[in-house]
């Protein structure tokens, strides 16, 4: 049995909530090129938490939330201050501020630990997802429909739910403003939306999400979820709305996928479960790298395929053009070796076979000639080539003896050269457009 209500329900719920919450907010950090600010805040809320705890002597979520939010805003203000008044490079300013604050937090946490409370510097990093065990869980899923279930929900999950609802409200209400402020802060301000205020609001939400996620999943997952889902979605779409929806789905998917990889995969090898927060982080990294490779629009693989396709089209185009030019020299048929010499390919056979298959050329007693269809295609290519040559010489003023190579590249590309005279700069006839009879 892979899913155990007692062991898995609440941790999974917490991970999913935290992931979605951070994934949602992370989109705007990404757009503002402030992803590292998420990292900085998630480090520097630590002293805020501990100080709030030391002052109030309670771990009530509200107190923690206030402490962390203040720390988050203080971080942003301090980074800005160091950057402006210290003339320090932004990255370094961020590094200085968050590491000092984090070190302060680590020292203070030891002080808090002296008071025998389980605030622990390492739990801050990787959370205590596994401790959200529901000891009196019902045996079956149908047993969940009772009032006791509500009582059993851990407060981490309640806090996360509230923050998530607030974050969704924030993003959907201020979507237009956030988009504008991320794209062009100056314009947003002149239009009357204070982009600095929006920025701070966003940072407050990030800090709140961070601290709400903290106890359950730890800061490392927060950082990953603030960046990875948004980045993955960014690689898949160019529209912000789609990107946000996608990032939330991806966050959800990675949370569930990562969680089960942590609990199930080690079991296959007869091992104990591993840390779920870490596993979700790794899972999000895997999803991202997979996207980088196979994303349909910007993926490495699809770009490679497109390049290969283009080069095979170019080869075909070159073959047809070569045969057309030979035809102009009154050589209607060419042997495979003639072609091989003309297009500088040692093994033209696969190319020839492909052209035959597409009925662009025909084979007759070992000699190749253009078919009707091939004739049309070839004419169109040569026409483009010569029109480009004409354009480059006539309009761009390049030397006539230089333009052949350039035209050779351009003839395969979408832009259409303007119609020109009857002959190209070398005096060769520019064929008519075969599409226009």
């Amino acid at each position: 049995m892979y899913f155990d209500l007692a062991l898995d329900l609440f941790p999974l719920l917490a991970a999913a909530l935290a992931a979605v919450c951070c994934g949602l907010l992370g989109n705007f950090l990404l757009l503002r090129k402030q992803s590292m600010m998420g990292d900085a805040i998630s480090h520097s809320v630590l002293p805020g938490l501990v100080i709030a705890f030391l002052i109030a002597s309670t771990r009530s979520p509200l107190v923690m939330l206030v402490g962390a939010t203040i720390a988050g805003v203080v971080t942003v203000v301090l980074v800005e201050f160091v950057k402006r008044f210290g003339k320090v490079e932004p990255g370094a300013a961020m590094g200085v501020v968050f590491s000092i604050l984090f070190a302060l937090g680590v020292l203070l946490i030891e002080k808090a630990a002296v008071r025998h409370v389980d605030l622990d510097a390492e739990c801050v990093l990787h959370g205590q997802l596994e401790t959200l065990v529901w000891y009196s869980a019902p045996a079956t899923i149908s047993g969940l429909w009772s009032v006791e279930t509500l009582d059993a929900i851990p407060r981490q999950i309640i806090t996360l739910t509230i923050i998530l609802i607030l974050a969704i409200g924030f993003v959907s209400l201020l979507f237009k403003e956030l988009r504008l402020a991320s794209f062009d802060p100056a314009l947003a301000t002149t239009l009357g939306f204070n982009s600095t205020l929006l920025h701070y609001l966003l940072m407050i939400f990030v800090a709140a999400a961070t601290v709400a996620s903290f106890e359950a999943v730890g800061s490392i997952l927060v950082i990953a979820m603030l960046i990875c889902p948004g980045a993955t979605a960014r690689l898949l779409t160019d529209r912000l709305r789609t990107q946000i929806v996608l990032s939330v789905l991806i966050a959800l998917f990675t949370a569930v996928g990562g969680y089960f990889s942590a609990t199930i995969i080690p079991g296959w090898f007869g091992r104990d479960t591993v840390n779920a927060a870490g596993s979700i982080t790794v899972f999000s990294g895997l999803v991202l790298s997979l996207t980088i490779i196979i994303s349909p629009s910007h993926g490495i693989l699809s770009r490679m395929i497109r390049r290969i396709r283009l080069s095979s089209r170019v080869a075909l185009d070159d073959l047809l053009a070569t045969m057309y030019r030979a035809q102009e020299q009154a050589q209607a048929e060419m042997s495979a070796s003639d072609i091989s010499d003309a297009i500088l390919r040692s093994k033209p056979q696969p190319l020839l076979n492909r052209a035959v298959k597409r009925a662009l050329i025909q084979r007759h007693r070992g000699m190749y000639s253009l078919t009707e269809k091939g004739q049309c295609a070839a004419r169109s290519i040569v026409r483009r080539h010569r029109l480009w040559e004409h354009y480059l010489v006539d309009q761009a003023g390049l030397a006539p003896d230089h333009v052949h190579e350039t035209a050779e590249r351009l003839e395969h590309l979408p832009p259409v050269p303007p119609a020109g005279p009857q002959t190209d700069p070398q005096g060769k006839v520019i064929p008519d457009d075969p599409q226009v009879p």
Partner: protein, 245 residues
């Protein structure tokens, strides 16, 4: 020198033979590829095809004979060095790996500063210099390279009159001592006064040759008469297919 440079989104089929011992200006509108031209000559930008040769040899072999003044905006002027330190950088190659900068080299660097009229500012931190003074420091550094051929990217951009005079003075002295200088220039008015040769550039060489022959109304009109939209479109199409998008 033969520069046969070809393709790539911003610059098409440049073919130019630079005569020796001349002051040469590269002129053209914004985005015409002036800096790109210089940078690709120096191997800072990969070129799609073509050949750049200096004195009949590839660039790698004659590096020590070539000096370079980059655009002023290309560096962080808050860098913790003095004007003298920057000029000494021009001699680092001569000094060699791991060896310290000796007194001899400092004296040589000071002389270069003297030539651009900046000796008094040798110990200033570079951020405390005015724009024109920073430009002169860059020029002094190029002088310290003791090259035979200089590439300068917009040395006259945003400088005061005194600096402009100082720079052109230095350029003339360089020419008189048999050097060649290729300058990216943006001020059309001063071209005939300052330079011997001119290359008019707008995504391709519109015209090149002695200022008297080339620097004509028609050629200028061709250079500045708007971009060739089709050429830019084609450039973008090439860039797209290159990256496979």
């Amino acid at each position: 020198m033969t520069v046969a440079y070809h393709k790539k989104p911003v610059l098409w089929d440049v073919d130019y033979d630079a005569p020796a011992n001349k002051l040469i200006a590269i002129v053209g509108p914004n985005g015409a590829g002036k800096s790109t031209f210089i940078k690709s000559c120096l191997g800072l930008i990969p070129k799609a095809s073509g050949l750049v040769e200096f004195w009949g040899q590839p660039y790698r072999k004659v590096r020590s004979r070539i000096g370079y003044v980059p655009q002023r905006e290309s560096v962080d002027w808050d860098f913790p060095v003095s004007a003298l330190d920057v000029v000494c950088m021009g001699r680092y190659r001569r000094i060699g790996w791991c060896r310290p900068v000796t007194r001899k080299h400092k004296v040589a660097a000071l002389d270069c500063l003297e030539l651009v009229g900046m000796r008094d500012f040798a110990n200033r931190q570079i951020s405390q210099l005015s724009g024109g003074q920073q430009q002169r420091v860059f020029l002094a550094r190029a002088l310290a390279q003791q090259a035979e051929l200089y590439f300068m990217d917009e040395p006259f951009a945003g400088v005061d009159a005194a600096t402009e005079r100082a720079i052109i003075q230095v350029l003339r002295e360089l020419k008189n001592s048999g050097k060649t200088v290729i300058v990216v220039h943006h001020d059309l008015q001063s071209v005939p006064e300052y330079f011997d040769e001119v290359i008019l550039l707008n995504m391709r060489v519109v015209a090149s040759g002695p200022v008297g022959e080339v620097f004509t109304e028609t050629n200028l009109h061709k250079t500045y008469g708007g971009r060739l939209t089709l050429l830019s479109e084609a450039a973008e199409a090439i860039a797209r297919t290159e990256s496979g998008v």
